[in-house]
């Protein structure tokens, strides 16, 4: 019987070492240790061995069993190792060039989306504009002191007998009368986003900048509607918790006129270094002056409206806490700046 064991062992060793995969290995294991396996059979037959050599045979069988089991396990592991090819997941990727949209483009897109949500039509009107649309049609006759606030660039061209001088529009409000003349019959819900120009250049002013102008004209438009629209904008653009407030102000083309404040996002309106008593100034707004409606051929006794015009850059800066110390950076072509956004 001892010989039988030795021969079974040697045969098994040869089979295991020459096995090519797990499946084969598993078949070998079953052939050896399965219910009718060779080794299992040998174990059963220990009882037939004479008593005096039974212990010796027992030891041999156990040793054989142990050796074969170890070898099986070893062989199984070696299959796993061989299947694992060398690979380095830490090697860095090859990136495509990363492009960037300008902050102003991002701002304009967001602002447009907010107003399109309440049926405002985005429009664009001339940057090089007649004095009449920029001032006179907005209830600012020639020589009016209110014109001082717009540091206006004048273009060297012949004056138009009807519309006067050519200017670089200092505000998007020049689109108000143009929109009225285009639409003719209200309702009007306009959002005009365009480049504007003023003779100014310092850390918070650039000669070329952008404004967005809202104009709503319909029957029975009230201050309540203006407040509603501004709150809708503030909450969509700045965040649900933000509020706006109106304070009295004066513009020639609106009556009443307002300065619009938004609650400070930094301190939740409690008051901090960045704000004035919990509020930040957003810009101007007002109820469209009847003379402006008249300039746009709209009957002021039937229709009323509101308008607001704010700086795109300024408004966007207030949003994300993007503290840009010098706004002129926006209009430099410096990639070290542009690739940050």
């Amino acid at each position: 019987m001892q010989e039988e064991i030795m021969s079974a062992k040697n045969q098994a060793l040869a089979q295991i070492t020459s096995a090519k995969d797990n499946m084969e290995l598993e078949q070998i294991r079953i052939d050896l240790f399965g219910r009718s396996g060779k080794i299992t059979g040998l174990v059963k037959r220990i009882k037939e061995v004479p008593v005096e050599s039974r212990q010796q045979v027992g030891i041999l069988i156990n040793e054989t069993k142990q050796t074969l089991e170890n070898l099986l396990a070893e062989q199984k592991n070696s299959f796993k190792e061989n299947a694992r090819e060398w690979f380095d997941p830490t090697i860095p990727g090859i990136k495509p060039k990363i492009g960037h949209l300008h902050l102003v483009t991002q701002a304009i897109t967001e602002i447009s989306r907010v107003f399109e949500g309440i049926d405002f039509e985005r429009v664009r009107y001339p940057e090089v504009e007649w004095d009449w649309f920029a001032f006179e049609g907005l209830n600012m006759p020639k020589g009016h002191p209110a014109r001082d606030e717009w540091e206006t660039f004048f273009v060297d061209t012949r004056e138009n007998p009807k519309y006067g001088k050519t200017v670089l529009t200092p505000h998007t409000s020049s689109g108000q009368v143009r929109e009225m003349l285009k639409v003719k019959t209200p309702p009007i819900r306009m959002i005009n986003i365009a480049k504007c120009y003023r003779r100014q250049s310092d850390v918070s002013h650039v000669p070329m900048f952008h404004q967005f102008e809202g104009l709503v004209v319909d029957e029975d438009i009230s201050i309540v509607n203006l407040k509603g629209t501004l709150d809708y904008f503030a909450q969509s653009f700045f965040g649900k918790e933000r509020k706006t407030r109106l304070r009295p102000y004066h513009f020639q083309f609106t009556e009443p006129s307002f300065e619009v404040d938004i609650s400070c996002g930094n301190c939740d309106g409690k008051g901090c270094k960045l704000c004035k008593g919990g509020w930040l100034e957003l810009g101007g707004a007002g109820m469209v002056h009847p003379n402006v409606l008249k300039a746009g051929s709209i009957n002021p006794s039937r229709y009323s409206g509101f308008a607001f015009g704010w700086g795109v850059e300024r408004t966007y800066m207030m949003k994300g806490g993007i503290h840009i110390p010098d706004i002129r950076l926006l209009y430099s072509a410096d990639l070290r700046f542009l690739t940050q956004f």
Partner: protein
């Protein structure tokens, strides 16, 4: 206009227990905006922005008057302590013995003056000095200080003449003539263009540039004995023209140019008389000359309750409306729901129409008390033009392939623009004097700024160029342009090609000479026969530059795409390598192959090695699978054509 108001001075006219911080807050919510409160010793100074229409508030008294109307709405008691508006001691008359004025009332609607004799010139008392100082005005001597004090307290500019320097005690207030000159208090001499308001004395000398600055010839000095205290109102348009024209922006001029209240003249001169007696121990004449041919008549404005409620957007009681307006010194009378409002003199230039009255009601009601509701009503039926989203898409494509968007200035130097470009009359500098006619110089400049710092980049911009038109506004043409640095021509062009392909535009590149580009290094980009843009090397530049007219891209791009059936038969693809003679235009070769016959559905350049070019050619027939034999026939045609037309040989 920003003014500084001392708290204790304000409370001389305003009876209230409101703390400065609350006062500031309430005023800002319903009236003039208090920008900040500064400590001034134990006192406080309010820094207040008064809007141009509210010149009546540009004074201590004016702010007190506003506060009196506003504070009660915040449940704070307030009472106005009124200034003196009449006197039994002094008579206002049209003629006096001590002065002979000839006044053009169109220039000066109210001319008022009084002689004060035996004035003792010296320092003002401490209180006056402190108050002037709190407003940022330097104390000089009691006479000058009185003028400034009255202006700050009541908002009425006041002037003083040395009476004895007015020759023959005659004054002719008239329009200046072109070429006249005047010496002013600050010892400057101004040559006038005509149309300014001036005063001439009995010897025909100009002694005052009225409303803007006093004349040197009649100035009060340390030897002055008799003073003519002078309080007027002027035509605001003239004052503004003179003040702007001569760049003399005195406080008096900035007040007068907004149009002052003719009724304010009386309290101002009475206050002046009082101060001259007190501070200078002077003796005023009992008769005040007052040339005021058209005394103030209150204007009536009619409106109704419905109008007020519609503009406000809430219901409001007639009593509240009356109360609010009365607190602002308007008089109100209701007939049913119709309201007649009498406007006080100090608001007569500002409150002209029903809308103006609504503003007064609304701000005292409190904008913060109004609800907030987006308007209801019909949709406009006009949705935003698709061009805006199209523009966004163009930018997204380019940035998706690594482009960085820039915004460069529309205002450029002369060497950036073509002839007859629009020029500014008042540019900030010569580097921003013209409206650009091309984006190319701006982008070359932008690339130059970054070159050296970055190895390779692609900048792009979408902006208008301005092309002059005769007797009209210029054409504002929206361009999309880009520049590559450190890109091989093929890589740069590939982005432009991919961009066009994304737009499903089947574009042709045609060699062309174009302005600003180096000779032979520019192609125009065409869709059919329509030129939509350019690509190439600008003169003296190693950067590839391209530009498109956005409206053309928009116009030519298909708004929807039609489905093309996917072929049931496979294409056969093979690579063929040709050796081409030097200076062969490879694009032309590919084009020739591609359009040789309809069974060739694609031809691409795969590889270049020296003068060997490998093309990948795809053969396809929609009706069947091409046999090897058929492909061979087509291939032979290609080989023949390339040999004939370009002298190219198949390699190997």
């Amino acid at each position: 206009m920003d003014i500084k108001i001392l708290d204790s001075w304000l409370r001389e006219f305003l009876g209230t227990k409101a703390k400065p911080a609350d006062l500031a807050k309430y005023l800002s919510l319903s009236g003039p905006s208090v920008e900040r409160i500064e400590k001034f010793g134990a006192d406080s100074v309010y820094d207040i922005e008064v809007t141009t229409n509210r010149i009546d508030s540009t004074s201590v008294y004016g702010i007190a008057r506003e506060a009196t109307a506003i504070l009660p709405r915040f449940k704070v008691h307030a009472k106005l302590k009124r200034t003196k508006t009449s006197s039994s001691e002094y008579k206002f008359v049209k003629k006096v013995s001590y002065l002979n004025p000839v006044v053009d009332s169109k220039l000066c609607p109210r001319f008022c003056a009084v002689l004060i004799k035996n004035v003792k010139i010296g320092d003002s008392p401490g209180l006056i000095k402190t108050r002037l100082e709190s407003a940022g005005v330097r104390a000089i001597n009691n006479v000058v200080d009185i003028s400034n004090y009255i202006m700050l307290e009541l908002g009425q500019p006041v002037h003083t003449f040395d009476y004895d320097k007015i020759k023959k005690h005659k004054m002719v207030l008239r329009e200046s003539k072109n070429g006249e000159s005047i010496a002013t208090l600050d010892r400057k001499i101004f040559k006038l263009n005509g149309g300014d308001i001036v005063i001439e004395d009995g010897d025909g000398r100009l002694i005052d540039l009225a409303g803007v600055m006093g004349g040197n010839l009649s100035a009060v000095d340390t030897n002055t004995k008799n003073v003519l205290l002078f309080v007027q109102t002027y035509d605001p348009v003239r004052i503004r023209k003179t003040s702007m024209g001569l760049a003399q922006r005195t406080m008096a001029a900035t007040i007068f140019e907004k149009g002052t209240d003719t009724e304010l003249v009386t309290p101002a001169i009475l206050k002046g008389i009082e101060l001259f007696e007190k501070l200078c121990k002077g003796t005023p004449e009992k008769e005040v000359i007052d040339i005021y041919p058209f005394p103030f008549k209150s204007k009536k404005i009619n409106l109704n309750l419905d109008f007020v409620e519609k503009r406000l957007g809430v219901n409001i009681s007639k009593k509240d409306i009356s109360d609010f307006l009365t607190s602002l010194e308007f008089e109100t009378a209701w007939t049913g729901n119709n309201l007649t409002v009498n406007v006080p003199s100090f608001r007569s230039r500002d409150v002209l129409e029903p809308e103006d009255v609504v503003e007064e009601i609304a701000r005292i009601y409190g904008y913060h008390n109004l609800p907030s509701e987006v308007m209801s009503g019909k949709l406009t039926g006009r949705s935003t033009s698709l061009q805006f989203t199209f523009e966004e898409k163009l930018k997204n494509y380019l940035s998706g392939w690594g482009g960085v968007e820039v915004y460069t200035s529309s205002l450029v130097a002369e060497d950036y623009v073509s002839q007859n470009a629009l020029r500014l009359i008042n540019p900030l500098g010569t580097d921003s004097e013209y409206l650009r006619t091309s984006l190319m110089p701006s982008l070359i400049n932008a690339a130059r700024q970054n070159s050296g710092t970055f190895e390779s980049f692609h900048l792009f911009e979408m902006s208008n160029i301005y092309l002059p038109k005769k007797n009209d506004l210029p054409e504002e043409r929206l361009m999309l342009a880009g520049i590559f640095e450190g890109y091989k021509y093929r890589n740069a062009k590939g982005i432009v090609e991919a961009f066009l392909e994304k737009l499903r535009l089947n574009a042709n590149f045609e060699i062309n000479e174009s302005k600003g580009f180096a000779a032979g290094k520019c192609s125009s980009i065409l869709i059919g026969t329509e030129k939509i843009g350019y690509i190439g090397f600008p003169e003296n530049s190693s950067n590839v530059y391209y530009e498109f007219e956005v409206s053309k891209l928009f116009g030519l791009t298909q708004k929807t795409t039609v489905y093309t059936e996917i072929s049931k038969y496979p294409s056969q693809v093979e690579d063929i390598t040709f050796t081409l003679p030097e200076k062969t235009m490879v694009g032309k070769v590919l084009e020739e192959i591609r359009y040789l016959q309809s069974t060739i559905n694609n031809a691409e350049l795969r590889d270049i090695y020296k003068n060997s070019y490998t093309f990948r050619i795809s053969y396809h027939d929609n009706t069947k699978t091409l046999t090897d034999k058929e492909v061979e026939q087509i291939r032979n045609k290609i080989l023949q054509k390339v040999k004939e037309k370009f002298g190219g040989q198949i390699k190997g």
